[in-house]
Structure formats: C-alpha cells, structure tokens
Subunit: 272 residues, 2 copies
C-alpha cells in the first residue's frame, strides 16, 4: 500500500527528498552531450549519485513526451535504472472524463508501473476515480501549486475558504475510499502549507518549489510533515540536476542532494 | 490564425461537427480486429467516411498514450491521413508550470503540428502562456466540463460567480494577448452554455457531451454559436465511431455524422 511504502522508504533512507528527473538537452553539461544517448547517460549519472539519498524520483512526463518515441524509450530505460525500493512518481498532471482517465491510469500504473502520479482536480471526482482504483498506488492531487498562476483560481474564496482548501477537503473524502491520496502543495506559499496540513493530518504531501523556484524549506518541512515527521516529500529538480555544468556534475548533484537531505533532516529533528 | 482558419473551414464544410478520434481495441468492430494494424485501419475508415462532413477531428491523447510507442506511431499515422484543410485538436488537457508547459506546447504544436489543444486552467496564467505563444494555434481551455465531477469545483461561487465563469472571464483577458483562446463547455449543462457565451461573444467554444454523454444538442447549438452561427465546434466521439459494430461500421459512422451535421445546421439556421 502506497502510504506504508512511502513511510518505510522515508525511514530506510532517512530522507524526505524527491528528485525531479527532468532531463533537458539544452541544460545538461556539455561533456555529456557527446554521449551516444546523452539524456539517458545524464539520468544514469544523476541516479547513481543520488539514489542513497532520496525516497523518491519524479520524472516530469513533459520532458519525455516532447522527445517523441525516443522520449518514451528514455523514460522506460530511466525507470529500469532506478533501484526498486525507491518510489517513482509520474509528474503527469493528467485528468479527463472517466473513460479517458481510465486510459491515463492504465498508462502510468500498468504500462509503466509508476508507484504514484500527479493529477489535476479541475474535472472533479469521476476524473480522479480511475486513478484511485489502483489501490496500491499513490495519487497526488494538485492543491496549491508553486507557480505565480496559482493566484488566478486557487485562492478564489467560496464557503469562506480558498479553492485549494476546498480541493483539500474533497480529497480527504476521496481518500477515505482507498486511503491512497496525496496532495501537491507548493513551498512558495509559506503560510498556506500549514492550513492544508491542518485539515489533512495524515495525507502525504508532495512539496515542490524549493530550489530554483525559491520556496522556503524551513516552513515546508515544519508544516508539511505529519506528527511523526513523515508523510512528506520535498522535491528539488533543477537545483540538483544542474548543480554544476562541469564534468563533475554528478558529484555536484550528489553533494547538493546530500546537503538538502541533511538540511531537511535538521529541521525535521527540531520539530518532532 | 486559428480563429480565421476555424471559421473558414466551418463555411467550407458547412459544418460545426468535430469527431473525436478515440480508437479503443475493446470497442472497434470484430471484423477490423483481424487487420494487421486494426486501430489505424479503423481511424482510416472513420476519416474516409466522415471527412466531407466535419470541420475538425479531435484525437484524445489518452487513447494513444496508453498504447505506448505503438500509440504514438498510430497518432502520427492518423494525423497523416487527415486532409490538411480540416482542423486537428489534441485533446490533451495538459497544464504545468511554465518550464514544463513549454515542453508540452512544443510536443503538440511543433512535433505533432496540431492546430489546437485542450488545456487545464487550474494552474493559472503562466501554465497556459507557453501554449498561447504559438500565436497561430488555438488553445481551448477547460471551463465547464461535461462530466458529473464538474459539480465538485467548477460551480463553487466566488465574487458571485461560479468558478467556471471566473475561468471564462480570465480567458477573455488572456485572449486579448494573441486572440487564440477557446473554451471547452460541456453540452450536459444546458442553461450554463448561454452564461459562458454571454461573457465571451466571439471566442470559439468546443462543446463535448452530446451523444454518449446525453447533452442537449438544441441548447448547445442555439447558445454556443456566435451571432453569425459560427465559432463553435460540437464534438461527438462514441456515437459516431461506434454507430455500428458490423462490417458496415464506416458507412454507419458516415451516416451518423451526416445526420448530426444536418441536425446541427437545422438548429443553426433557425437561430441566425
């Protein structure tokens, strides 16, 4: 069951860190561009350098889909090199009417065997249900996103609550079906992480937005963790992947991951 | 420019019809399952039988993605057989932070050369902007969807308006940048189509939900069209694709498309 698996790997690795595997040919170090399959080689080096330090990897599907068939092959090969005890989250942000969401759920859970996926809530319950029905997998539903556009709709107030809290409350109810929901809450909204955690004390949170996006780590960890200091993944992508553009990029990525994991653990320890 | 192209093909074909190309191995007629590439053959037969009757085709990406690499090959080959004057809409419902939405926009507009795409509004402006920047393409943003889950969030009232009208109003502003936005409004919400059209008199609407989902065609056409009886696409998928499961399925699909086109035009004529 996803939540058990998540908290077990958090314990085993002593880490809340999730690394976004978003390889971009324009950003990878020049030294690796000469390789036969540069993006796969890049992912391999990053995974080797960080796999002892992370609880999860999160490939953003946009970065693979954009490469066409080669991108899907890259995704498959990348999934193969990730050690099996580490969770893999498809950052796909899918969601459609039931008929079509069934196909998306099948793609990511059956065909590619991801442990979890990110899903958009806009279309409501029947667009999310086909994912929930994979009862052993985790469904991270977008709640409050880390980007500036989150202000456009996610803060609209109804019933004296912003939309993102209305989403969180609905997800608590959806979670009662198979206990496999999570929420995505951006670290850039420092004061709101606590509001989400208050109404969902035991649901896993996936927090992006620290690192390149500038969210506050202290608040994210303090208010994002549950009472046991768990049920939380802190994601970093660019700040780890592109920690250096030299030939030592993998070593730098490993060092950036180690520093971030330790920083997170220090905050966590002070709060338990 | 997308809007011009849309209304030109509506005139040329005298049709507001859009056919969803969502091939499903479990639903295609038994006779075609024996073919070497049954889903491509199915799409070919459907396109041949309907291409004189439609303004647009709308492949739902979920149905292709779920087939892995073969699905993307099927999509490419399907795009190749569609006559070039007919619009092709990627029903993808994507949307992510700018960095990732750029990749999605690139995938569908540059790699696969779609004329338009469906996009989720939940993450706000910067998640939609990378799509808008393809100024010659159309961006249909989810407003009020046809499924039952649309009740969960799309009707939440703030500023005395449901969320879907707040989305529509924002899209009107986003549209002022490159004049290439559209809205998705489900035919199952008979009284609300008019509310959307009232605040967006000239924006193209894509209306799914008639046919298998049971939406009301009369209301959809009457209130969905602009004052010239244009800027509207009525989508039907299952009711045309699977009009018959016999060997004459293509003929039946053609007949179903013809009937629907003519029904739409009759309502349209009465309203101009």
């Amino acid at each position: 069951m996803f939540k058990l698996k998540l908290n077990r790997i958090i314990d085993q690795k002593n880490s809340l860190l999730c690394v976004g595997l978003d390889p971009d040919l324009n950003k990878i170090p020049p030294v690796i561009r000469k390789e036969k399959n540069p993006l796969l080689k890049f992912n391999q080096e990053i995974v080797m350098a960080t796999c002892d330090l992370v609880a999860a990897y999160k490939p953003n599907i946009a970065f693979y889909e954009t490469l066409g068939i080669q991108g899907w092959q890259l995704l498959e090969k990348t999934l193969d090199i990730i050690p099996s005890d580490i969770l893999i989250i498809a950052d796909a942000k899918r969601g459609d009417i039931g008929n079509s969401s069934c196909k998306y759920a099948d793609t990511f859970f059956r065909r590619y065997n991801f442990d979890a996926i990110t899903v958009s809530p806009y279309m409501g319950f029947d667009s999310v249900l086909p994912f929930l029905e994979f009862t052993e997998r985790g469904i991270f539903i977008l709640c409050l996103t880390s980007n500036s556009g989150s202000e456009d709709f996610q803060y609209l107030e109804s019933d004296n609550k912003p939309l993102f809290l209305n989403v969180a409350e609905k997800v608590v109810r959806w979670n009662s079906i198979h206990n496999n929901c999570g929420l995505v809450v951006g670290a850039t909204h420092t004061s709101d992480i606590q509001r989400v955690r208050n109404i969902t004390p035991a649901i896993p949170l996936l927090i992006p937005g620290i690192g390149a996006q500038g969210g506050d780590l202290e608040t994210a960890v303090t208010f994002g963790t549950d009472q046991q200091g768990k049920n939380l993944l802190i994601n970093a992508s660019r700040s780890i992947l592109y920690a250096s553009s030299d030939s030592n990029f993998a070593e730098s990525a490993g060092r950036a991951a180690l520093e971030l994991r330790d920083k997170i653990n220090k905050i966590r320890k002070n709060n338990i």
